[in-house]
Amino acid sequence: MMSISMNIWHWTAAICILAMWTFLFKENPIFRIAEHVFVGGTAGHAIGMAVGNIYRYGWNPLVHNQQLLLFVPIILGVLLYSRFIPKIAWLSRWPVAFLVGVGTGQSIYTSLRTQVINQSLGAMVPLSGDTVGVTINALIGIVGLLAVLSYFLFSIPQSGALEKFSRAGRWIMMVTFGVSFGNVVSGRISVLLGELTRILGDWLGML
């Protein structure tokens, strides 16, 4: 049984979702309005959150706790906007250099530890197990990993045994991409179901 909601906000949400879905048939003014509200609103929300961070972690400690060193990041942050003034656009390289320096320093050590060393350790499992299946899985794990990595050796000519080995790596990656695709389908359907629940449940009262 259908019992349409009398709540204006449920109507608003349903109209917003359906406005976006009109694009499935063709581009139209209703979709364009919804799209522009979405883009503007998301940017506005992000600005608001950024203002909050600057206020809480920059302005307040600077003004109330006299942490004068905080002038440095505030000036660096303002310098980011110098890119819009051609005469002083080169000053925007300084805050970018700072951001890139932090990112670089972080990834040099942590990505090696987490993604290379720990993952390599994870692949080194004992080949003998309780069942033949465990042994086969372990073999696929280690040999497959080497095959996949050999596919990415672009500085060595891929010929002979290496070529055959890297083709096995390619096949394993095809399984990986197939699994990913299956999950993409699942994931997108889940998002659709969430919106359908809002329309059929909250708005039309059918659930």
Partner: protein, 212 residues
């Protein structure tokens, strides 16, 4: 000096951050008390860059009354509405009435717009997999079969069609998929390490921009 000073900044900051992870002494405190909070503030300023650009581009469109200028007006209106409202709440967090009103606008306008457009992808995935997913070669067939098995194993109906589908799906996820993903993770991490090293040594200067 216009390139040398930024390169020096990148090098010094990167060294401090890197060494703060692996040493004791003053460097971890320098990271925690200065570099990290500074990063928070500079990142927050960086968020505003996109909005300034949006304002410039759409502002020009409105002032010159180009095609679609009304939509640009709507975009900027939406941006300023949410931006100013949210900024007010961040600076006055104890104003619960304002926070609740903002939550209404966010949860019933912005949130459904956002998830609505992402939900469109479900339709596109359905239509494009029908149109483009063909078993043209051995690799494509492996991809297709894996995808179908995963879709059947992931949904409860799969177990009703063949009781082994969930087990096969789990095996595909835990063994070959995991192996391939691990290889991709390791390869990408080595690549990112090499790029980071190049940035640190000043060989990679793309982030420093053009010829000035």
């Amino acid at each position: 000096m216009r390139k040398e000073v930024p390169m020096l900044i990148t090098f010094v900051v990167a060294i401090i951050v890197m060494l703060s992870s692996i040493t004791t002494g003053p460097l971890p405190d320098v990271f925690k008390n200065h570099i990290s909070p500074w990063m928070t503030i500079v990142s927050a300023f960086a968020v505003g860059l996109a909005s300034v650009n949006l304002t410039r581009v759409h502002g020009q469109k409105i002032s010159r009354k180009r095609d679609g200028w009304v939509y640009s007006l709507i975009l900027l209106g939406s941006m300023f509405f949410y931006g100013i409202f949210r900024s007010y709440i961040e600076i006055n967090p104890s104003n619960m009435a304002a926070a609740e009103n903002y939550a209404l606008c966010y949860n019933h306008i912005l949130s459904p717009l956002s998830s609505g457009i992402w939900a469109c992808l479900a339709f596109y995935v359905a239509s494009s997999s029908y149109r483009a997913f063909r078993a043209r070669s051995m690799e494509a067939t492996i991809l297709l079969v894996s995808a179908v098995v995963v879709m059947l194993g992931a949904a409860p109906i799969g177990a009703q069609i063949w009781s082994k589908f969930p087990a096969v799906q789990r095996w595909l996820m835990n063994v070959p998929n995991m192996t391939g993903q691990r290889g991709i993770i390791i390869g990408a991490a080595i690549g990112s390490f090499v790029t980071a090293l190049r940035v640190l040594l000043g060989i990679e200067r793309g982030h420093l921009g053009g010829t000035q």
